[in-house]
Amino acid sequence: MVKDKKDFLFMGAVYTFIVAIFIVTFYPFWNIFIISFNSAEDTLRGHLYLWPREFSLASYKQILTDSEIWTAIRVTLLRTIIGTPLAVIVISMLAFALSKKELVANRFWTLYFVFTMYFGGGLIPYYMVLKSYHLIDSFMVFIVPGLMNVFYMIIIRTFMQGLPQELDESAKMDGANYLQIFFRIILPLTTPVLATIGLFTAISHWNSWFDSYVFTYNPDLKTLQAVLVKILNQYQTGSMVGDAQAMANSAKRMAVSPDTIRMAATMVATLPIIMVYPFLQKYFVKGMTLGAVKS
């Protein structure tokens, strides 16, 4: 009986903890959500906790009619759609080759790739090199450097190493060459891990702002997150100067304010991830535990 009571208290503590974490994790998103749907004037009064007080779609209207945002969405979508499958192919091809013990100079090549995880040239030389490849201010700067990732390669390779050897051997006896083995046999079997890597790569593309921010100057090459950074910077410099007063004055006449615009933009940038993510999370949890834990 004592044990049951102890268990009861313990589980009570567990659930309290879980609920607290749930609130801390989720509430910030909710806060943004309600501010974005609230009219600016009303938002200034603060104390918006659970629901929008004065519902307004004005901020969204402003965001979604802004051509800068649409250009940015287009750029981001394009790089995600083009960059992700290409990367998955390049990385998995390498993983396949390195998973073959009989590969000539296998250890050398593995070291060649793994070394880059531990040491790099740094930002400045990287920028210079990009410039000399004429990638600065080009859309390709979003695609080409991102085609290779050693960490993902290791995950895929580990998985491939776990596949039965007999598959290869019987295929070879049937006269298949390495390319055929790769594309027709191994690749289809690797789908769960490929989906995981693809997901991570896609999210990485969707979230990227730094390469657009630093390596491109053309406004037509700004990704969605980079535009969001610009909006954030404007807010931060604005709020240094005069703060609430200035914003209050400008907001009184409009249903939107820099603040609510910022919130709406944030929601627009986050929404795809949040929508897509629950469906894909079962893939990545499986993939992560499959591949990464073994490494």
Binding site: L98, N106, G121, Y127, M128, W209, D243, T289
Partner: protein
């Protein structure tokens, strides 16, 4: 076939022992398609990882923005040796930058390392069902948003008109809104909490996987012996994931110079710059924004070298510990 150029086994120590001439060329010919598969990755890594390493020569010269192409300057510009490193160590920024970097890393570790473990232990105690699944889903949501979005959220919540201040003033804990984002050292704590918030759910996955591998019989026996759930957690679950914890802790320490860039750059403002600036934001500011390319390269090189030594040392320790814990 351009197979030949790639066939040079520089790492010849790593090649298999049987290596008569006919055999090697024969095997290469057999595997030429494997090499074809590797080709794109090899080229990409060469172009985007190794060539920039060569570019580190910039740290030892006086790079002139207008003075010819990047590669040509290797031959034409004057060698200035360790001048830039000397400048970095003596110009007064070094102590501040290192202090900020290490403080933020340390605090992030302090808060962000135990949280995923505790979270995993708690999640493990939940009964499987929709609640557990929903909670897990929500817990790794912050990991998948960009720091841009996260920074937006954090700044909004901590602003004078934001929720936190609303609550504090509403409960009369303080009279006026507290400017969280403008108090220097507080920035370190904000970074630490943000990092934990963003990654604890995701990092818990690693531990949950380790927990899933625990032999259920251990729990059966404990239950028969009358152990409470708390005792089971402390005496079975926790010790069983100890190897995982130790390895991850060691690896985390190895990454201590990587305090981050995104978070600091996006969350900082001029008021807190003295406390927020870390090595990577410093390199960006001086190297790219202010055009001191060689200086930026030098600082970057310093960080790369120290981080490299740290990580290798720490990885060796992790390997040794793994062997020990297997016994």
């Amino acid at each position: 076939m351009n197979m030949q150029t790639k066939a040079h086994p520089e790492g010849s120590g790593a090649l298999a022992v049987k290596r008569n001439r006919g055999g090697l060329l024969g095997r290469l010919k057999e595997q030429r398609l494997l090499y074809v598969l590797m080709l794109p990755a090899i080229l990409l890594t060469l172009m985007f990882s190794y060539v920039p390493m060569f570019g580190l020569y910039m740290a030892f010269i006086n790079y002139q923005p207008g003075g010819g192409t990047f590669f040509k300057q290797f031959f034409t510009t004057d060698f200035v040796g360790l001048q830039w490193f000397h400048y970095f160590f003596t110009n007064g920024d070094f102590v501040r930058i290192m202090r900020n970097t290490l403080a933020q890393s340390f605090l992030s570790l302090l808060f962000g390392f135990p949280m995923p473990i505790i979270l995993a232990l708690m999640i493990n105690e939940l009964r499987t069902g929709w609640f557990k699944r929903t909670f897990q889903t929500v817990s790794y949501m912050p990991h998948f948003i960009s720091w841009v979005i996260a920074a937006n959220i954090i700044i909004t919540m901590l602003s004078s008109g934001g929720v936190v201040n609303n609550i504090l003033t509403g409960l009369h804990i303080i009279d006026e809104p507290f400017q969280f984002m403008q108090k220097g050292p507080l920035f370190w704590w904000i970074i630490a909490f943000s990092n934990a918030w963003k990654d604890m759910g995701f990092n818990a996955i690693m531990y949950l996987a380790a927990i899933a591998a625990i032999n259920p019989e251990l729990y059966e026996v404990a239950k028969v012996d009358g152990a409470s759930r708390l005792k089971q957690m402390l005496h079975i679950t926790l010790p069983s994931i100890r190897p995982t914890i130790i390895i991850l802790a060691i690896l985390a320490v190895g990454g201590i110079l990587n305090a981050g860039f995104d978070q600091q750059y996006l969350l900082q403002n001029n008021t807190v710059m003295e406390y927020s600036e870390v090595i990577d934001t410093y390199t960006y500011k001086y190297g790219l924004q202010n055009g001191m390319f060689s200086y930026g390269a030098a600082v970057g090189l310093f960080k790369s070298v120290v981080a490299f030594i740290l990580v290798i040392t720490v990885n060796q320790m992790a390997k040794k510990m793994e062997e020990q814990s297997l016994f």
